[in-house]
């Protein structure tokens, strides 16, 4: 029981990072029914931009703010040049450009910053507090709380503001929302921007926690987060958070029961099982398609 509880505590931090990235996948899917496979690279770009601004001498909060704005803008630009022109074509076409965009971003960073890992200038210490036999990092509590806070603020935004309502309307029915006056392109851009912001925050946290960043850091994180989004129910914010946490904790349990070699495959086993048994995910709703 002790091991079990400890595994839950250990998995929360990584699960929170999966959750933050998964929200972006989920929102974009909700709006466009399209999986943005370049989303993991926004997580990586976020960390690189923060490092770049830090080495230029900016204080941390300025570096994060600038990185949020830059990567958010990049996400919007990517959508405009790589996905928007293909919107009227088959749904496979933007999926392929998304993969291409992901490879392009990985490689451009390798060219600019070298393929090796770089050490991150600022890091969060990982001090622990003990509760009897159990221990927990103070940092992990912070990461978990921040994730919940951001998810809460996002829900607030989606339900209480006009722009947020626009996103929800678009997700419900694109054509009907256009008829009701929701600006389609602007709303799609806003969705990409929000997703990028959360990915940048996750990337920065990982950079500060592990003290290193590398051009391919978004690949693994992106794939895991995608699995988490599907698990929770793609298109649902709460589902993405729940999926991320469940995945992070499950991985940590596998490691603590001596099955660490199977850890990386586990996310995809979940992905396959969910798609076979409950394609709408844990919190997803089945929608009636009226013909």
């Amino acid at each position: 029981m002790l091991d079990f509880t400890q595994a839950i505590i250990d998995g929360i931090a990584i699960g929170s990072l999966y959750a933050l990235i998964a929200i972006g996948y989920s929102m974009v899917f909700g709006v466009l029914q399209f999986v943005n496979f370049a989303h993991g690279e926004l997580f990586m770009l976020g960390a690189y931009f923060v490092m770049l601004f830090l080495t230029m001498g900016a204080p941390l909060w300025v570096a994060i703010l600038f990185s949020l704005l830059s990567v958010g803008t990049i996400a919007v630009v990517i959508e405009r040049i790589a996905y928007k022109p293909l919107r009227k074509h088959s749904r496979l076409a933007p999926l392929i450009t998304a993969v291409a965009m992901s490879l392009f971003l990985q490689n451009i960073i390798q060219v600019l910053f070298s393929p090796n890992s770089l050490s991150f200038p600022i890091n969060i210490p990982g001090n622990i507090v003990t509760l009897g036999e159990l221990f927990v990092r103070i940092r992990d509590i912070g990461i978990f709380s921040l994730t919940l806070l951001l998810a809460f603020l996002l829900e607030l935004f989606l339900f209480k503001t006009k722009a947020g309502t626009g996103i929800r309307a678009l997700a419900m029915h694109a054509d009907a929302s256009k008829l009701c006056g929701v600006p389609f392109n602007r709303t799609v851009s806003l969705t990409f921007f929000i997703g990028a912001v959360l990915a940048v925050i996750a990337g920065t946290i990982q950079g500060m926690a592990t003290n290193q960043i590398f051009p391919l850091m978004g690949v693994n994180a992106g794939l895991k987060a995608f699995a988490a989004a599907v698990l929770g129910g793609i298109g649902e914010i709460r589902g993405a958070v729940l999926g991320g946490l469940v995945l992070g904790i499950s991985e940590s349990m596998l490691v603590s029961y001596g099955l660490s070699t199977y850890k990386d495959g586990f996310a995809f086993v979940i992905l396959i099982l969910v798609l076979l048994i409950r394609p709408q995910g844990i919190l997803g709703r089945t929608q009636l398609v009226k013909v």
Binding site: I14, M217, N220, S260, T261
Partner: protein, 379 residues
Amino acid sequence: MNFKNKKIVTYTFAALVGLIGSLNANALDAKVGVLLPLTGTQAFYGKEAKNGIDLARQELTDSDINLKIFVEDTQSTPVEAAKGINKLITSDRVNVIIAEVISSNAIAAASITEKAKIPMLSPAATNDAVTLGKKYVYRTCFIDSFQGVVMADFASQNLKAKTAIILEDSDSDYSKGLSDNFISTFEKEGGKILKVLKYSQKDTSFTSQLGDVRKSKPDVLYIPGFHQQVGVILREAEDLKIKSKKLGGDGWYTPDLRKIAKGSEIGGYTSTHYSTDSDDPSVKAFVEAYTKKYKAKPSAHAALGYDSYKIIHSIIKEIKSSDPEKINNALANLKDFKGITGSITMDKNHNPIKPAVILEYIPNGYKFITSIKPKVSSN
């Protein structure tokens, strides 16, 4: 100058060179190929080895042998390594080759020299497969599996450790080689392996594994991995207040480890090829000469390059021949060669039987702890 004139000049020059050469009738000519990654991702290691070779050439000024070197760049890739070694053999017609410091490139080059029957000596390719089953391929460094044996010896004899946990990189054959040999040696010496935990190179947090270590409190924690993960592991181990001594292999021995570990590496031990802080007078002289020439401390690769060239030089001087077959024979029978990286004797698998050095991490440097010799040959 037209083409014809150019040819005449070239011939005249060649004749003159021949004439000068024949004046010193006793001098023995031999061509040594040098194949190293001088550009590309591993250029740092290649350049260090080249510096070592150049320093050795500068020091060895014998009148009775005349070694000429031909340098090729592998651009850090196996494909270019294969091209370079072909050029050295077919166009430069070298008698012996000092080739590659990276295992995968050395393996690519080795299959070609083996067919051409030209002996090849690798300064620093540590993968066990490089020389395996090859008649013409040798190395100056010890092999991966030896490091595991050395660390287990050190843990049980010097640190008096009774219990150990191993944290193995499941994505790397190098890590598995070191880990397996550590386990068998440590158990043979009466120690107990409490657990073998695994991690992946994709992992970003190792808390779940380290939680186990924290609970079991082993005397030593052996982490035969690479600096990207080891750096984070060491930092997290410090966070979790794990008091076990941390041990590692030469995957630790890079300045990048310290950048990631940020001080948590202090007190850890690593096994490597040589130490600049050794009290051996020949090492001291080498470090001094190298530092004077290149304004930087020599790395292990520089020392291995230096030793490799000296081995080739001493063999050609001793057998008084540049015949590749005879050089090959002499390399196979190399015994007690006194190098900077220890006394070198080739075993029957063409791997040197030589000591490894144990270093301790101290603030801003390394402390030389001991040098451990292999007890018996590995075969």
